[in-house]
Structure formats: C-alpha cells, structure tokens
C-alpha cells in the first residue's frame, strides 16, 4: 500500500500498532483541513507492526500528547520533500490540559479556570499524578 510522500508536513512514525487512532483524536487532527493519512499495521523492522500518521501541512503538534500516549515515537518534519528534523519523543515531565483529573474531591472539579496539570512521578511505570490532589491518571 502506498501513500504519496509529502512535500511540507509532519510524519509521526514508529507509533505502537493500535495507538494511531488514539493519537489522531488526542491531537485533534480531525479539525484540520489538510490531508491526513493514518496508516495502521505498517511493516516495521524494529516493531514488527507500527502505525504512522502523515499530516500534509507543517503545523505545530502537541509533543506532550505524543510523549504521553506513546513514548518512543518519532516526529519527522518534512520541508521541500526532504527530512528537515527528526525528533524522538520521550515522556514529558508535565502534562497541561492533556488529560483531566477525575477525582470529584479535587479542586479541579470546582475551579473551572484551573489548568489540569499532571506530573510524571514514576517514569518506569509511566505514572502521572494530578498536581493538585495527586490522584493517579487512568
């Protein structure tokens, strides 16, 4: 299966197979006007299978979302048909308004203007906790 290469845009590569749609939704890519391709279960030497997202526009993407959902993903920026930048995305130390605290006792549940902030408290087990109430993210 072939997807045309892009001239100017973003390729999110090495996505764990099955996580492509989740990333698509969390990154809000459905709101874009440009072409967006999601390739599921592509062959990968390293992973066996992987998902890929190609965005046909050089837009800013929220790297924190990518690092939270699937650390280890590559984000490649393509300019004039050439690879201009390749970034390996690690788990971010802080997530702001990416995920939301579900603890009904948290101050977040009543202070509407408050940013929902989560801190990485255990990198090995990928545990994020609410900055305010320390409840673990699901």
């Amino acid at each position: 299966m072939n997807i045309d290469s892009i001239q100017n845009g973003i390729v999110i590569d090495h996505i764990t197979a099955g996580q492509g749609m989740r990333l698509y939704e969390l990154l809000g890519l459905e709101t874009l006007d440009c072409s967006v391709a999601i390739i599921k279960n592509a062959h990968s030497e390293k992973l066996g299978k992987k998902d890929i997202i190609k965005i046909d526009a050089d837009i800013p993407v929220n790297l924190d979302v990518i690092g939270y959902v699937d650390p280890g993903v590559s984000v490649n920026t393509i300019r004039n048909g050439m690879l201009a930048e390749k970034r390996k995305i690690d788990m971010p130390e802080t997530l702001t308004n990416v995920i939301f605290c579900k603890n009904p006792r948290c101050i977040c549940s009543t202070e509407q203007e408050l940013k929902h902030i989560f801190k990485l408290t255990d990198r090995n087990n990928k545990i994020y906790r609410c900055f305010y109430c320390e409840t673990k993210a699901n």
Binding site: R105, C106, I107, L114, T121, Y132, C133
Partner: protein
C-alpha cells in the same frame, strides 16, 4: 522569599528539626516569643468547620503577639457567592501577612499558594494533606521518646482515608530505624500507592494486620485514628466500620510500659476515656504541642518571607 507549607515533604528533615528546636524553646521560654508578631495578622480561611485546628492557629498567632482575621465556614465567605480559591487568595493577601487554609477540596491550599503573595499554610485539604497535624505528631514523638528514629510505630484504624496517617508515614519514613505496624480492617487498609511510593521506595519495613492485640507488645507508638463519616460516600459502609477498634485499659495489658498513645482527635469512641489518666496517653499533649509547632511554623514562614 515567600514560601508555603502544603505537604510535610515540603520541609527537609533539617528544617523539621529546626521547627522542633524552636517549639522546644518556646515551651521553655514563652515570654521571649510573646511580642515577635506584634502588628502581624494571620487569616484563618476555613472553608469547612474545624474548631480545633482553627483555634490552634489563632492561639498560636495570639501567643506570638499577632492578630487574627478570617472565617470558619464557607457560607460566611465569598466562596458562597462563587468566588474562586485563586481570587480569595489574592484578596486576602491584601489584608494579612500569612494564611492558614482548610478546604474540603484536595489541592485547594496549593492553588491558594500559587496565587497569594503571602505564605499559605495547608490546614487540611479534604482527605489529602494535613501537614501541621504531622508537625504536632513529630514533636509529640520527639518529646515523649527523645528521638524520631529506631521506633516501631503502630497505626490503627482508618488507614485508607486518614490524611494524617499518610502524612505521618511520609514524614517518619525519612528517619533511620523506623518500622510500621499497620492495623486496620481490610476495607480501610493503607492504599497501595502509599505502600509502593513511600514504604517500599524507601525500604521501610512494615507489616499489615487486623489484630491489634497480637502486635501490641511490639509497639513504641500507638497512633489511633477515627473512622471519619465525612470521607464515606456510603453511610452503610461507615456504620459497619466505625467501631472496628476501640482501645480500652484491658487491651493495654500486654503493651510496653513506655508506650506512647497518640490520636489526632477528635475521638469518637476509639479510645476509652478510662485511658485518659494513663501516663501513656499523649493525645492531649499532642494538641498542646501542635500549637507550639504552629507558632514555630508561623515564625519560620514570616521570617523567610521577609515580613519579620
């Protein structure tokens, strides 16, 4: 520089020792401290009722020569009109030199500290943190046992929702030779994240049991807690668990002669009043020590903020 106390871990072991040293000096020489906060005000912002903690802060400030403003329930504050915690903190910063805040929502004092220009002390945020209770606990242990290490500490009752328990475990886990005996019904056991992130992460030995009597001879400290009605969504669960452990003189038959019995208070019926006259009962001293630690804390935070 302005600094706040939101969780007990905000202070190092050295800083906790400094607070205890100050508190001990206040106890020995109260007149030397009676004018230090003359002209300063503490705002006690209590969005849920807590007579003892509020009065302890107010007594602490008054004994330092300072003054007190504030409210004791959300209905008499602007919160009833829908004001945010952030705005309240900004407004009160214009009136007072330091804030002590109790709030039913977890994290509210942290939000206040992020928005206030004066120090904020967490006086309890829901079932989350209550660091000044832990300060009282530490001074009690230090004065009664002469040390904060090499102790077997039994904690009994509600270990799941009891915020004082989590804070105390976090604080004592930083001292050498601490061993915990965790006594609770199955439904109120210490949450697994506390065990994993504090006890196991620091290689602190602990045992869990439902049998208080069996472990009584081992204990240097017995920290009793109340099963708190306000932490339950379900009244039936509360009624079923509230009388799980009741300490009576008979149950102390195999306890050490120098056991230190503590309780954050208020008690309901988990410690029989017949124990009050036992020299091992330390829970009313704990209240007194809490006031001295709050005095030491107010002084430290005002000094660091450059107010004193």
């Amino acid at each position: 520089m302005k600094r706040s106390l939101i969780a007990i871990q905000d202070f190092s072991v050295e800083e906790l020792q400094e607070l205890m040293d100050t508190a001990n000096d206040i106890i020995a020489n109260p007149s030397g401290y009676s004018e230090l906060c003359r002209g300063k005000k503490i705002a006690t912002l209590f969005f849920e009722p807590s007579t003892r903690t509020r009065l302890s802060f107010e007594a602490a400030m008054l004994e330092l020569g300072g003054a007190v403003i504030g409210f004791s329930e959300a209905q008499s504050s602007s919160a009833a009109k829908g004001e945010s915690v952030a705005d309240t903190a900004k407004v009160i910063s214009c009136y007072a030199d330091i804030i002590a805040m109790r709030h039913p929502k977890e994290g509210a004092p942290l939000v206040a500290a992020m928005n206030a220009s004066i120090p904020v002390i967490n006086a309890g945020d829901g079932g989350h943190n209550h660091p000044t209770q832990t300060l009282a606990d530490l001074l009690t242990i230090y004065r009664e046992k002469g040390r904060l290490g090499n102790l077997t500490v039994g904690i009994c009752g509600d270990l799941k929702f009891g915020r004082t328990v989590h804070s105390l475990i976090a604080a004592l886990s930083r001292y050498e030779g601490i061993r915990f005996v965790l006594i609770s019904p199955e439904e109120l056991k210490l949450p697994s994240y506390v065990k994993k992130e504090i006890l196991k992460a620091n290689n602190i030995p602990y045992v869990q049991t439902t049998d208080l009597e069996a472990v009584m001879p081992e204990l240097d400290i017995l920290y009793m807690t109340r099963v708190q009605r306000e932490r339950f969504f379900n009244e039936e669960d509360y009624l079923r668990l509230k009388d799980s452990y009741i300490l009576t003189p008979e149950r102390l038959y195999n306890a050490k002669k120098d056991l230190c019995i503590m309780h954050p208070l208020p008690r309901v019926n988990e410690i029989s009043v017949a124990i009050d006259d036992d020299p091992r009962a330390c829970y009313f001293k704990q209240v007194l020590y809490g006031k001295y630690m709050r005095m030491a804390l107010i002084l430290k935070l005002l000094k660091e903020a450059g107010t004193l």
